[in-house]
Amino acid sequence: MSERIETDVVIVGAGPVGLFAVFELGLLDIKAHLVDILPKIGGQCAELYPEKPIYDIPGFPVITGQGLIDNLLRQIEPFKPTFHLGEMVEGLESLGDAEHPRFRITTDAGKVFECKAVIVAAGGGSFQPKKPPIERIDAYENTGVFYAVRKMEAFRDKRILIVGGGDSALDWTLNLQPLAKHLTLLHRRDAFRAAPDSVNKMRALVAAGAMDFELGQVVGLKGPAPTLEAAVVRRDDGSTFEVPCEVLLPFFGLTMKLGPIAEWGLNLHENLIPVDTEKFETSTPGIFAIGDINWYPGKLKLILSGFHEAALAAQKAHRYVYPEKKLLFQYTTSSTSLQKKLGVVPDTRKQPEAV
């Protein structure tokens, strides 16, 4: 039941640099699909600091993370990229040879891409739920410890312990409380960074005796793994108590991990992908790495560096996608052909035939 997609280039990561790569590829008539593990477009800019001002984007004295992403989306609109969000690229298989590379890429959602080049623009890696460093927690994962709620029904009539003080913790507290056998919310302090309405509803449930709220942090897990029976909680004064539970849901937000990219044989340098500085290609011909995830002498982790890297990687990718075509360097200010692609002058040409 896997879906098979044929395209020119797969871009791993839909952050600012991945988005701009769509633009640079598009000017060269190269079609791209983007895959990102987050459910939304924009990478760190949208996930970590949507409202924070950025001051070092050329031409923008100040712009917010989300503002930059919105602008990039407008800029790449003419190229109609396809986004595959909430999916992680897992497998990468090399099919061709160094002169004519071809790749098969699979995602954890079962999609299969076949493409002529891959651009890794994965920033700090993939965003994944933060795992509490509690001893033996691995032994309970997916049986007693869950970092996301996929099916609420799975938690019916269970004793549930939810940890955290943000919107995820509060929302799931309110959603799961009616079907849980018993629910406890645990947080380090009696203050929340969540919608005030959710906090009020939670407090009303506690006042009505329908659930518990406790202060502290989980420091240990009990029960014959993989069966969870209780969590050991430490209070601020160092004393501990146990909360009986079959389900623990820790909501501590997301952290960035390199993930499956580490297995792609790209000769990593301290969790970064080494590239050359002429075309930002990795040790595998046809696989490029741009933006924060790459490494070369003098590398600066700036968004503007990633934009530059995208332009040069696209030039080389053209060779793989159109081996017979000579690439003419053109400016968007003067080239009618580029302007047609951007949709700023009417396209009177016949549509090029499919390659």
């Binding site: 600091y49 509490p132 943000g166 942090q217 501590f252």
Partner: protein
Amino acid sequence: MGVIHVIDRDGERHTLEALEGWRVMEIIRDWNLPLSGACGGACECGTCHVFVSEPWLDKLHPATEEEEGRLDMLPLTRKNSRLACQILYEPELDGLEVTLAPVSG
């Protein structure tokens, strides 16, 4: 020039020279102790989580709501948890002792 003391995750205590105006996170990183500080001190990532030794806790500027919010996203906080990027070293902190917190997976 003053010093700060840092107890690493193996329990070893290091004494580091500290420059006024530097963030404690930067001092610890500058001495190559394993503290990530992934976001560069923007109070965004929580990877510079430290425990401040008791006598020093009251000598620090209290955590802002932004820092408290970031600490909310860490699994093993304690009463003396702080983010080292939010502590600016000043001469009054000569002798400050902090312990590197466990890293979240």
